[in-house]
C-alpha cells in the first residue's frame, strides 16, 4: 500500500512526498504557502481560481533517446515551460523544480487577485468574514493595491439571498470557487447547491425544497474563502477579532465532535458573556473539520432565559427560591428523614447528559447511602461496549479496503450525522458497509449489502448472522437466507470489523439481546481488542458510554418498579417523567425527590428540592464518546446566576450527609476515576490536552488552505481501550428472543430525527423553521386501509390516553408500522401496538 516517494525542489527546499501528492500540498508540508481559493485539501482539485499558479520546471530529456540531458557541470538541465501552471491540479514529479515566489509567479498572482476583485464589493467593514477572510488576507499579501478596472463597471448583485433558513448568500462577494457546491456533492453527498448562468452573472442556487436541505450546511460557511455564505445565527453578530474562544465538546450525540465556542460580552444579554457562534475544532480522529448543523446551531439552550438560576424548595406545596445553604439543609434533612423511614431506600437516577466527573461522584454518593443508581436510558449493552468496544487507536478515517462495518437498527444520518459521514467516506475508500434496518435509511446508498428485516426481528437477524458464522446448533432456529451467508463470509474474511448497533424498533431487553449477538459475532470472528475493531453503540446521549463506564446502568424492567420501592429519589441531568408520565404518581406520593437540572422539567416540577446545575459551556468536565474517546471541555462563559456544576452539588450534599467526598476540582475527580475505573487508569486532565499537529492545516495562518475551522491546540482526547485483549475469545452470554405474538393494529415505533423538539433544541430559534413537526408516519397502503390521506388527522389511544396528530404517508415505512419521531410532543419509549383511526 505504501506509495513510493518522489523528491522535488520547491523554492530551494528539497521535499520528498508520496507519489500523487499535489504540489500545493507538498509545499504546505514544508511550510511554503501557495495561496489558493478554490483548492481545499478535503475536496478534489478543480483549478478554477488560478490563484495557485507557479513555475514548474521539469528535467529536460533528449527527444530522440528519452535520456536526461546534463549540462557541462554534470547538472541535469531543468526545462521551465512558457506558462504558469496550477499547482493544485498538478501531482509532483521526480526531480521537478517549483518556483513559488519567483517574479513571474508573483506577477501572475497579483493579476489574478486584481481580476477576482473586479466586481467584489469590498464591503469588508460590514462583512462577517472580515478579519478572518482568505480573500482579504491574500489580497493584502499578493494583491496589487490598486486596480486598473473602473469602479463604475462593478455590477450590483443581490446581497441578501437566503439559500435556506440557515445559510445566506451574498452574490457580490462570491468568487465562484465552488467550494460549497463541491463540498455538498463530494463530501456529504447532498448535491443541493449548483451553479447557474455564466461569467460575472454566475450564481449559486439551491435545488432543494426547503432550500439548502442538508444537515451539514454550516460547514460551507467555514470553507467559503470569502463572505459569500454566512449563517443565520452569526450574521452581523460580532467581528471575529472581538470573540473569545474556548474548546468544547458537542453535547448532542455520542460522536463527541470537537468544538470551539466563540463568546463575547453583550449589552443585549445585559452584560453577560454569550456564545456568538459554534465552530468545528479539528480532530481528524473524530469529526475532521466538520460538524453537523445541530451541533452548530442548537447551542442556545445553554444561554436560555428559562434556565434555573437559584435553588428551590417546596413550601406549602409550591416551589420557592431559596439560598444554597437553606436548600442543602432541606435536602439533607429530607433525605435523612426519608431514609430513616422503614420503606425502601434511595434511588439515584442520572442521565447520559452528565459528564464523567458528575456520574462518578453521583455513584459514590448514592452508593454511600446504600442506594441504587440507575441510568435513565433505553439502550442496553454498555457493559459489552466496555469489554468489546473499539480498540485503542481506532479511527473511522483509517477504515478502508478489506474492512467491514455493520450498522444495525440505527439511522446514523439522523442519530449521529458525523458517524454517517465518516462511514460514507470509509466506503469511498473501499470499506464494505452492511446496513441492517427495518426501513430504508440514508446510509443504504453506500451499503454493499442491505439486510431488511421486519421490526421486532432485529435480534433474530443478528443471531442468524451469528449462526452463519459459528454454525452453533442452538442458533439453528434463526438460520437466514443466502444474503445472510454472504454477509457472514464478508465478516469472516474482514481484516477489521466494527459493528454499530442502535435501538430502532427495540425495547431495552431486545437491545440487550442485540448487543449480545453483535458482541458475539465480533468475538467469534476475532474482531475485538484491536484498533479499528469492536462494538459501538449509537447512544441517545453524549455521555451514555461514560455513564456505563462510571458504573451506572439502566434497569431492564424500567423505572416503575424501583421507584415504587423508593422512599427518596435523587435525579441528576435526567427527566424520566417526560418520557413516562406514569412515573408522576410514583414520585408525587410520599417520596422525597431531589432534582438537579438546567430547566424546570416535568420531573423538577414534582421535586421537593431543585438545584440549578451548570450547562456544558459554564464548566469543565469530560465526555466519553461512543468510540471510547475521553475528551475534555472547558468553561467558555461565566456561570449563570447561582448555578453549580453537577458534581459540586453532589459533593456538597454528600458532605452534609456525612459521606466523605472532597474534590477541589474536576481534575481531582478525574484522578479518582483513574484510580477506580480500570480502562481509565492512565487518564489525567493533562493527558487529555495533548494535541499533535494534524493534516490538513486549518485556521489561523492556514485560513486560506483548510478553512475557518479552528486548529486543535486544546487536546485530541484519549481513546481508552476496551477490557478485552486480542485473541482472547470471551464467551458472550446470549439472550434468546421471545417470539412476540402479532397483535391487531399497527406497531408504533419511535425513531430519532436530528431536529427534534427536545429541551436542548427548542431554545434555538434559528433552527425552528427546520424542526420536525409532530406527526406520525404511515405506509400509504396502511393509510388507504384506514382511509387516511397525507396530512390528515389520525387518532390513537396509548396507555389510556388519546392522541390526535397529523399523518404523513411515507413509502419507506414498512407495512403494519407507524413511525413516531421522538421528542416532538408525544412520548413513545418502546414499540407499542396501537389502533389508529382517521379523524373525521
Amino acid at each position: 500500500m505504501t506509495k513510493s516517494l518522489v523528491t522535488l525542489t520547491i523554492d530551494g527546499i528539497e521535499v520528498s512526498v508520496p507519489e500523487g501528492t499535489l504540489i500545493v500540498d507538498a509545499a504546505k508540508k514544508v511550510g511554503i504557502d501557495i495561496p489558493v481559493f478554490c483548492y481545499h485539501p478535503k475536496l478534489h482539485p478543480v483549478g478554477m481560481c488560478r490563484m495557485c499558479l507557479v513555475e514548474i520546471g521539469r528535467p529536460a530529456r533528449d527527444r530522440s533517446t528519452g535520456e536526461p540531458i546534463f549540462d557541462e557541470d554534470g547538472q541535469q538541465v531543468i526545462h521551465f515551460g512558457p506558462n504558469l501552471e496550477t499547482s493544485c491540479t498538478t501531482p509532483v514529479g521526480e526531480g521537478w523544480v517549483i518556483r513559488v515566489n519567483s517574479e513571474k509567479a508573483r506577477e501572475g498572482r497579483k493579476q489574478i487577485v486584481e481580476y477576482l476583485l473586479t466586481s467584489h464589493p469590498l464591503d469588508c467593514p460590514i462583512c462577517d468574514k472580515g478579519g478572518e477572510c482568505p480573500l482579504q488576507n491574500l489580497t493584502m499579501e499578493h494583491g496589487p493595491g490598486t486596480s486598473r478596472f473602473l469602479f463604475d463597471e462593478k455590477i450590483d448583485l443581490d446581497k441578501h439571498v437566503p439559500l435556506g433558513e440557515l445559510i445566506f448568500l451574498d452574490r457580490e462577494r462570491c468568487i465562484q470557487c465552488a467550494r460549497c457546491v463541491r463540498f455538498q456533492e463530494e463530501v456529504v453527498d447532498d448535491p443541493v447547491l449548483g451553479f447557474t448562468n455564466r461569467g460575472r452573472r454566475l450564481e449559486i442556487i439551491t435545488s432543494s425544497d426547503p432550500g439548502f436541505d442538508s444537515y451539514f450546511s454550516g460547514n460551507t460557511t467555514d470553507i467559503c474563502p470569502v463572505g459569500a455564505l454566512t449563517t443565520a445565527d452569526f450574521r452581523f453578530g460580532a467581528r471575529p477579532w472581538e470573540l473569545n474562544r474556548a474548546a468544547s465538546i458537542c453535547p448532542h450525540c455520542p460522536v463527541g465532535c470537537n468544538l470551539t465556542l466563540n463568546t463575547r460580552r453583550e449589552a443585549r444579554a445585559e452584560g453577560r458573556d454569550v456564545i456568538k457562534r459554534v465552530m468545528p475544532r479539528q480532530n481528524e480522529h473524530v469529526n475532521e473539520i466538520w460538524i453537523c448543523d445541530k451541533g452548530r446551531f442548537a447551542h442556545h439552550f445553554a444561554s436560555s432565559i428559562e434556565r434555573l438560576t437559584k435553588p428551590m424548595v417546596r413550601v406549602n406545596g409550591d416551589l420557592v427560591q431559596v439560598g444554597w445553604d437553606e436548600a442543602l439543609v432541606r435536602a439533607t434533612e429530607g433525605l435523612k428523614d426519608a431514609l430513616g423511614r422503614s420503606k425502601g431506600g434511595l434511588v439515584g437516577i442520572a442521565g447520559g447528559r452528565a459528564s464523567n466527573e458528575d456520574l462518578y461522584v453521583f455513584r459514590r454518593f448514592i452508593e454511600g447511602l446504600d442506594g441504587h443508581t440507575v441510568l435513565d436510558d433505553n439502550l442496553a449493552g454498555g457493559d459489552l461496549t466496555r469489554e468489546m468496544g473499539v480498540g485503542r487507536g481506532t479511527d473511522l478515517g483509517q477504515i478502508g479496503p478489506g474492512d467491514v462495518i455493520l450498522v444495525i437498527a440505527s439511522d446514523l444520518h439522523e442519530e449521529a450525522p458525523i458517524w454517517w459521514l465518516r462511514l460514507k467516506q470509509a466506503v469511498e475508500r473501499g470499506a464494505e458497509l452492511i446496513v441492517a434496518n427495518a426501513r430504508a435509511t440514508r446510509l443504504d446508498r453506500y451499503a454493499a449489502h442491505i439486510i431488511r428485516y421486519p421490526y421486532r426481528r432485529a435480534v433474530q437477524t443478528a443471531l442468524g448472522l451469528l449462526h452463519a458464522v459459528t454454525k452453533r446448533a442452538d442458533l439453528s432456529p434463526f438460520v437466514g437466507d443466502k444474503s445472510l451467508q454472504k454477509v457472514a463470509k464478508l465478516f469472516m474474511k474482514a481484516e477489521n470489523a466494527i459493528i454499530f448497533y442502535g435501538r430502532e424498533g427495540l425495547d431495552y431487553k431486545a437491545s440487550e439481546a442485540l448487543a449480545q449477538a453483535c458482541a458475539s459475532l465480533l468475538t467469534s470472528t476475532d474482531h475485538v481488542g484491536r484498533a479499528n475493531n469492536g462494538l459501538i453503540a449509537v447512544w441517545p446521549r453524549v455521555n451514555t458510554q461514560g455513564a456505563w463506564d462510571m458504573g451506572l446502568q439502566p434497569i431492564p424492567s424500567g423505572l416503575g418498579e424501583i421507584l415504587e420501592q423508593a422512599s427518596a429519589v435523587y435525579v441528576m441531568a435526567s427527566d424520566p417523567v417526560a418520557d413516562d408520565a406514569s412515573l408522576e404518581t410514583l414520585l408525587r406520593e410520599d417520596t422525597f425527590l431531589v432534582v438537579q437540572e438546567l430547566f424546570m422539567t416535568p420531573t423538577a416540577e414534582l421535586a421537593d428540592v431543585v438545584f440549578p446545575a451548570r450547562s456544558f459551556i459554564e464548566r469543565e468536565g469530560t465526555y466519553t464518546s461512543g468510540e471510547h474517546r475521553v475528551q475534555r471541555f472547558y468553561p467558555a462563559v461565566l456561570p449563570l446566576g447561582g448555578t453549580k456544576s453537577d458534581w459540586r452539588i453532589v459533593t456538597s450534599l454528600a458532605n452534609a450527609m456525612g459521606i466523605e467526598l472532597n474534590f477541589p476540582s474536576a481534575a481531582a475527580v478525574m484522578l479518582a476515576i483513574a484510580e477506580s475505573v480500570p480502562n481509565y487508569s492512565d487518564l489525567t486532565y493533562q493527558a487529555l490536552t495533548i494535541a499533535e499537529s494534524q493534516w490538513p492545516h486549518v485556521g489561523g495562518e492556514s485560513l486560506y488552505f483548510g478553512g475557518n475551522a479552528f486548529k486543535n491546540s486544546q487536546g485530541l482526547g484519549v481513546q481508552v481501550g476496551p477490557a478485552a485483549e486480542p485473541g482472547e475469545p470471551s464467551e458472550v452470554a446470549l439472550t434468546m428472543p421471545v417470539e412476540e405474538s402479532e397483535e391487531d393494529g399497527l406497531l408504533l415505533v419511535p425513531i430519532t430525527r436530528l431536529y427534534d423538539r427536545g429541551t436542548t433544541v427548542l431554545p434555538s430559534k434559528v433552527l425552528h423553521p427546520r424542526l420536525e413537526r409532530l406527526h406520525i408516519e404511515l405506509n400509504p397502503k396502511d393509510a388507504s386501509h384506514l382511509g387516511v390521506i397525507d396530512g390528515a388527522q389520525v387518532e390513537f389511544r396509548m396507555n389510556g390516553k388519546r392522541f390526535q396528530l397529523p399523518a404523513r404517508l411515507v413509502a419507506t415505512v414498512p407495512e403494519g408500522i407507524a413511525l413516531m419521531p421522538r421528542s416532538l410532543g408525544v412520548s413513545v419509549v418502546n414499540p407499542i401496538p396501537v389502533q389508529i383511526s382517521s379523524v373525521e
Binding site: L122, D123, F236, E242
Partner: protein
C-alpha cells in the same frame, strides 16, 4: 537692604496700567472661546441628509480604539426598519468617555465618516454610569427634510453600506 523708591513706583505703574486695560479672561460659561478647526472634542455620530445614520456598525472604531472605550453591537437592517444604508447598523453604540483619550483613531478608521470628534469639550459627569455615552446621546439630530430612523424605505433603495467611491486619480 536699601530700596530704590523708583523701583516701587515702576512696579505699581504696571499694576495701575493693567487696571485700565480690558480683561483677557473670558467669562466662561457665559462666553465661549472658539476652538481650532481640528480640535478633537466629544464624538458625534453623523447622519446623511435624508436622516439615515452613517454608522453601519462595523466596529472598526472599537478595533482601532487604543483605550478600548468603544463598544458596538450590530444588527441587520430591513427595508421596513432601516437605520443606515446597507445591511448592517449599530444596534448598540457606546463610548466610555472616562476611557477615551480623544486620539481620533476612531474617526480615522471609520469607513463611512460616521464618527467625528466634534468641538464640544464640555464633558462632565457625576457618576461612572453617566460617562458612558449611548447611541441616542451621540447621534446628531435629524437634519431638516430628513426623517427619523428607523424609517420605512422602498425595497432595494439603500443597498450599499459604504458610500460610492470615486475612481482612483
Amino acid at each position: 537692604m536699601r530700596k530704590n523708591p523708583l523701583e516701587l513706583l515702576r512696579g505699581l505703574w504696571t499694576t495701575f496700567r493693567s487696571m485700565l486695560e480690558s480683561p483677557v479672561t473670558y467669562q466662561y460659561p457665559e462666553i465661549k472661546r472658539p476652538v481650532r478647526e481640528r480640535f478633537r472634542g466629544r464624538h458625534e455620530l453623523k447622519r446623511y441628509e435624508n436622516g439615515l445614520e452613517k454608522c453601519i456598525g462595523c466596529a472598526l472604531c472599537a478595533a482601532a480604539c487604543p483605550a478600548d472605550a468603544i463598544f458596538v453591537e450590530a444588527a441587520e437592517n430591513t427595508d421596513e426598519e432601516r437605520y443606515s444604508p446597507g445591511e448592517r447598523y449599530a444596534s448598540t453604540y457606546e463610548i466610555n468617555l472616562l476611557r477615551c483619550i480623544f486620539c481620533g483613531f476612531c474617526e480615522d478608521s471609520c469607513p463611512t465618516e460616521a464618527i467625528v470628534l466634534e468641538q464640544n469639550y464640555e464633558v462632565s459627569f457625576t457618576s461612572r454610569r453617566q460617562a458612558i455615552y449611548t447611541k441616542d446621546l451621540l447621534l446628531v439630530p435629524v437634519p431638516t427634510n430628513g426623517r427619523q430612523t428607523p424609517m420605512k424605505v422602498p425595497p432595494g433603495s439603500f443597498e450599499r453600506a459604504v458610500p460610492e467611491m470615486e475612481d482612483a486619480k
